[in-house]
Amino acid sequence: MNGPHDLGGQMGFGPVAPEVAEPVFHADWERRALGVTLAAGALGAWTLDESRHARESLHPATYYAASYYEIWIRALEVLLERHGFVATEEIEGGRPLWPGVKPKQVLRPGDVPRVLARGGPCNRPVDAPPRFGTGDRVRTINEHPTGHTRLPRYARGKLGTIEAVREGFVFPDTNAHGKGENPEHVYTVCFDGHELWGRGGDPALTVSIDAWESYLEPA
């Protein structure tokens, strides 16, 4: 979707303002936001792709006014409601009212080191051989799906070169919507500054994205 999250090349947000001696967390609620988000993710009820889509589906005014942990929590509330664990009235009232859906699994403290050290690999075998090879010229598709996609707007309809052929990976455009993993080969595709940003682009700039095969056409 052409949501507020798709920020590449946008202007007007001001300076980056890197913080000197930045702490890991700026407040205790950020610690809990991280931990609660990961612990709830471990319920196994939604995928990382679905959670990304919940974040980018927040209203743009909300998204831009929020810190990233706030974005996480607001999206988590959406996911918890969507999957029947928590009702809107409970979140608004700040206390549980109904039992809700029973979880298949709950993350216990003893399992945390193993679960975090294992992560969630999303490479998958793909039967078909890769359609493109290193050095191939490709053009990214210029599509504007209303659902989740990982092809950023600034890199749509652009001419690029395949730099690396990666493994097969779960296809986020379907996986985010419960329509299956449908793995595809992923490619690292390079674009030069002029192709992306016109005559004003930095002539010594190369930007790469990692693109699923169906984001690409031969050029």
């Binding site: 590449g8 300076p15 303002a17 809990r32 929590i73 988590l76 600034y154 990666r166 700039l205 990692d210």
Partner: protein, 225 residues
């Protein structure tokens, strides 16, 4: 807890904490009472990313690459396995790629679409990495971004920006600083900052070692627990 933290720069997104802190607490309470999360598991997750997993990991990877050409080759070829050999595996580091700075090319990592970041080697990302200014500008005006970090590269230096749009996670391996031939791996690791592994900085020089401020992102820089 907000009174424990001061903000040396203007971070408007992070100043209005209190109403949201209550909302997070309420959500945690609801989930706990419903048996959906275990607060002790939440504690263990926080402990992991506040004190165990951080840029020290990545610094050890870079130092090993500087010290050991065979490891460096392995890191270039199969970063996930090479990094795993040092014990760093897991969430947001499942599929790693190390990218090496050269005399001609400087690498910079970004995620324009969300906040993808190599957690296993760098920990959780800093606020600026996840915020709109960096995400919007890194791909169109990387030299302007680098200048904000005090890094001015020659105009002829190519800049390669890696937008982490899929599940590959990138880390930059900076060039080994001059006059470090006699340093061991542990000393080399102390020159490797978080920012130089994102690409927004360069490694420290041997004379500028200041261990107390090297690891601001590991929670030792005056943050109240």
């Amino acid at each position: 807890m907000t009174h424990d933290h001061h903000h040396p720069h203007d971070h408007p997104h992070d100043n209005e904490l209190d109403p949201f802190a209550a909302r997070v607490r309420a959500l945690e309470t609801i989930l706990t009472e419903k048996g959906l999360i275990d607060p002790a598991a939440v504690d263990a997750i926080v402990e992991t990313y506040e004190h165990k997993v951080g840029p020290r990991n990545g610094a050890r990877v870079v130092a090993r690459a500087w010290a050991d050409p065979e490891f460096s080759d392995w890191l270039a070829r199969d970063a996930t396995a090479a990094i795993a050999s040092l014990g760093y595996t897991g969430r947001q580091g499942e599929h790693m790629q190390a990218v090496f700075n050269t005399e001609d090319t400087h690498n910079l990592i970004v995620c324009t679409l969300c906040s993808c970041y190599p957690w296993t080697v760098l920990g959780v990302p800093p606020v600026w990495y996840k915020a709109p200014p960096y995400r919007s500008q890194a791909v169109i005006n990387p030299r302007g971004v680098l200048a904000e970090f005090g890094l001015k590269l020659p105009e002829t230096t190519r800049i390669r920006v890696w937008d982490s749009t899929a599940e590959l996670r990138y880390m930059v391996v900076p060039m080994r600083p001059a006059e470090t031939a006699d340093l061991g791996e542990e000393e080399l690791a102390r020159l490797v900052t978080r920012d130089c592994m994102i690409g927004t900085g360069l490694p420290l020089r041997p004379g500028s070692l200041s261990p107390d401020v090297l690891w601001p992102a590991t929670g030792t820089a005056g943050t109240a627990p």
